[in-house]
Symmetry: D2
Subunit: 336 residues, 4 copies
Amino acid sequence: MQNLKIGIVGLGRLGKRHAENLVHRVSGASVTAACSIVEDELHFARNTLNIRDTYQDYDAMLAQADIEAVFLVTSTSLHAEQIIKALEAGKHVFCEKPLALNVEDCQKVVDVAARYPQQIATIGFVRRFDPSYAEARRLIDAGAIGQPILVRSQTVDLDDFAEFQIPFTATSGGFVHDMWVHDLDLARWYLGSEMTRAFAIGGCYKHKGFEQYNDADNASALCQYANGGNAYFFASRTAQHGHDTRTEIVGTEGILKIGHTPSATRVQICDRAGARTECVQDFFGRFEDAFRIEAQAFVDCAHTGTAPICDLKDAMAATSDAVILTQAYKTGEVVG
Amino acid sequence: MQNLKIGIVGLGRLGKRHAENLVHRVSGASVTAACSIVEDELHFARNTLNIRDTYQDYDAMLAQADIEAVFLVTSTSLHAEQIIKALEAGKHVFCEKPLALNVEDCQKVVDVAARYPQQIATIGFVRRFDPSYAEARRLIDAGAIGQPILVRSQTVDLDDFAEFQIPFTATSGGFVHDMWVHDLDLARWYLGSEMTRAFAIGGCYKHKGFEQYNDADNASALCQYANGGNAYFFASRTAQHGHDTRTEIVGTEGILKIGHTPSATRVQICDRAGARTECVQDFFGRFEDAFRIEAQAFVDCAHTGTAPICDLKDAMAATSDAVILTQAYKTGEVVG
Amino acid sequence: MQNLKIGIVGLGRLGKRHAENLVHRVSGASVTAACSIVEDELHFARNTLNIRDTYQDYDAMLAQADIEAVFLVTSTSLHAEQIIKALEAGKHVFCEKPLALNVEDCQKVVDVAARYPQQIATIGFVRRFDPSYAEARRLIDAGAIGQPILVRSQTVDLDDFAEFQIPFTATSGGFVHDMWVHDLDLARWYLGSEMTRAFAIGGCYKHKGFEQYNDADNASALCQYANGGNAYFFASRTAQHGHDTRTEIVGTEGILKIGHTPSATRVQICDRAGARTECVQDFFGRFEDAFRIEAQAFVDCAHTGTAPICDLKDAMAATSDAVILTQAYKTGEVVG
Amino acid sequence: MQNLKIGIVGLGRLGKRHAENLVHRVSGASVTAACSIVEDELHFARNTLNIRDTYQDYDAMLAQADIEAVFLVTSTSLHAEQIIKALEAGKHVFCEKPLALNVEDCQKVVDVAARYPQQIATIGFVRRFDPSYAEARRLIDAGAIGQPILVRSQTVDLDDFAEFQIPFTATSGGFVHDMWVHDLDLARWYLGSEMTRAFAIGGCYKHKGFEQYNDADNASALCQYANGGNAYFFASRTAQHGHDTRTEIVGTEGILKIGHTPSATRVQICDRAGARTECVQDFFGRFEDAFRIEAQAFVDCAHTGTAPICDLKDAMAATSDAVILTQAYKTGEVVG
């Protein structure tokens, strides 16, 4: 079997991690092209990752590069159009989450993808590939907790990054599209149902710069799902101890908790501060393995034609839920 | 200093525990009278606890018994009237939570109590006396987590007790007055503010008998407070592992988690089921110490004239919040 | 049933705790006499605990006081003689551990006690009464871990107390009689067998003042038992995080760990130091409940004539093992 | 920079894992040759890993293959000779632990290696590369716990594998060379000193088949080091919950615990068995990351000429300690 030839697009902070995984830690793949509008990123691609074929123009790459798949780690505002172009150029596509900030753009992508059923198109909801989240899925499927009836999930970032995020808020879609979109995807995945109503509250308790965007540094939401299930979400940008992504799934016959202490390692330190564990500092630290497993899964799907565990409709649903939750947060009223 | 002479009223399951604490494990107190309409309970008082003075009639006890304080462990529907009578008879009063199921009854008690400022009157929000909850309060007061902005708190009971609770739902006020009233009290205590709006969802996922009362076996609520703080509450009657009361307080500079694994002891068992701890099975198991500390605190307040840490206005606020939350749950709409 | 009338002897740091428990938190008992050579302690007994009958002379108390039992919280060097006198005076006896520092003194006590089979005589190996240690015993008896084959147990004290302990080393018997005697008792209890050989190593790594007594601030021992079982012990006086008493019992079919994080409460703090729990600071903090349960058990045995779970032969065996382990540590050779 | 061309030798259970890592998850390396006396293993190398150059004869591979390094995952009895041949053929060498079962063979290798200082030669003490063990090393170097004075370390395997190990005992060197050699290496690494005296006890409590080799299914050792440090080791083949490798480092100013609950994932399950985590089942599950990091480190050293963190003298010391500990266990006396 030949290696899948991949063109990676976007080599910023996260793009670099994806590229390194694809080059060094994923089997059955070769990164033969890289595309970025930032010359430094292409320099890194050529010199550190040994990717010979580099482009500043995405269309040029699609037209000229000898690739079978693209790996998009670009701005959310570009995702829909870039995915469509890749599909039309006959490529498999992996794209970082979220698919888009509105449902219309999502729908366009879904419609185009329907014309290319032989090509893999998937959005990187990385938590589904984390060994702990995957084990929870396996336990649920095995009946370990009966019927899942409530998902409680949070995305909590280290305070140090908050001020740095403020200028990106205008284009990122805010904390809902950036952070809760993960939790929204998990809730659908574990509950097996669609969100119908949402209520959200919170505020800017520490980083006032988010207020101009009507965004939050701490917020909570409560949501109902079509099958009677519930979800509670929490997002925070003010954690002192680390990146604290946690999820709990309450079933009729048991409860699963994922990541309730976000330890960086298996080391416990006993000193004047008590008995303590240092915590992961960012989502890279927490989901390093998951990013690798996710990339491998994409390559495997491309080789075998197997459907990805997260398809475009899942991604559209997550965006749709994020739109509703954004409205709920901004109005302070129940939406749906 | 003479022992405080106490008359205990109600010697059911919880009343017995209170009586045993007062007799055996609290200093500065003597239980000199007991009152119950159940002859077996008076038999227990006389023969096991050696309480000589027993009554079937509350008014008779107040009129005749040589007591300075009453300890009410009776049905919620009787609380208001019994407290008022005790105050008017010149007694200090401890009464089990909740104060009443409606604000009007609470107000009557508050009004009467205002006329007897020398007498202690307190409601048993036992969690405030638990060493872990008290330590969280101390840490917050010491500034350990900055400004508290979110309280997440839950009362979760073992599934085994659920069916047994169904017939009591009509008079107990349902899960909000019975379970969440504790979490409501804690949220006010830690946030230092009053609830203004509430939204609640859930359902009867397993024990359909609660449906006739529009009550829930699993439910979640999201609440706003006057100072901008938020609270999330969860109640469940379907836990398989034990009684799982947990609270988390998110502050601008740190987070406190209380009781995130409800271990019964400090024993970890490593066997075919993995690495595990057995869990406390009911609220007695979890709050055994707190009940004793609470009773001691009441006796100490009566001796010294110190104000109790939970006064009638706190109790009225908890009932008021429970009324709102009940309405929120029953309507499915935001209330407030 | 009449209260057991107790005379407490020794009201130092630990004696006060015992006295408070007996007065306030134990049922079926009255402390009617107190004995101490320190006037301040008798003042405390009279004024704080309301014990009217106080003595500076032990013999006088035995001769004159209206008591049925004595509770000895005195220097180890006095234990044997005081127990014998109490037995000969017809009293039940509770005595703090250890029974004595040599086997000969233990044997004398055992011999005298044999003549008074109607009187309870027990030594306070408090850990046996701790709910976690008791639960481990119950689990073992229920077959949860098959045959116990290895006990690993440690007594670890906060560094802050170390220098203060140095002057007492000459008379306390050193860390083996003071600290390991607990672990030795637990190993016998869980393994159900007698120690046959021992090897011990360690040193004065931080507190050089112990060297003059050939004592240690950190030490480890490895012991064999007659039934093939093994034990490993650790003692330390240099912990920064708190009092860290831990025990692990390895069985052929499972493992029990007791107290592997010595949390002071159920609070976890998430801050710049990571995710942490504050730890108990001394053995009072760790065994507060156990001291109360132990005192209650003694009173109950006295009332019912039931044999105590820790008898004088157990205490003699612990001393005998401590003598051997002391020799092992001081010689650096295998003893036995 | 060209990829390091590696020939892997031995593709059994562990060899396969190493080969997969080198092929798929390590950068800067190409596995261009494979050697095994088992045809199935070569078939796997050719067809699954796409390694074209396969050999049944080690000497032939060294003579003919276009390789710069060999990766030995062969029987311990072959290690010394194979390393020497590789060095003499001008190759870098990675060899699985232990270096040999006796010091003489180790010395021969060390002597030969001294003649080839430009070639990397390292033994796979994989735990040094585990992120948690490495973090402990970093914390110690940063002074977090003062002077390390005691290392407590264990290798504990799942009971299911025990009977399967019996036939290999004759040639593996028994549990000391197979299991404790890891703990011995860690103790030297953390204490920074050499073992001087050892005492060991234990037995065959469940799997009697080990008795014929005077080997153990559960054993403990206590060791002294030249700088005054101590170590306690435990090995067990009878764990029910999983592979339980744990290490604790006691320093004068703090304590580090590594891996005290061997959780397989970050999932906690709350069900009728309590609050529990499933555990890693074997050393692959525990050290999967470490094997990859270790292989990457070897490749990086070969490229840069940097000395490996575990050199042949470390490996010889571990074997020397294992020989002493084996003698200690078999004689039941202090050795050294």
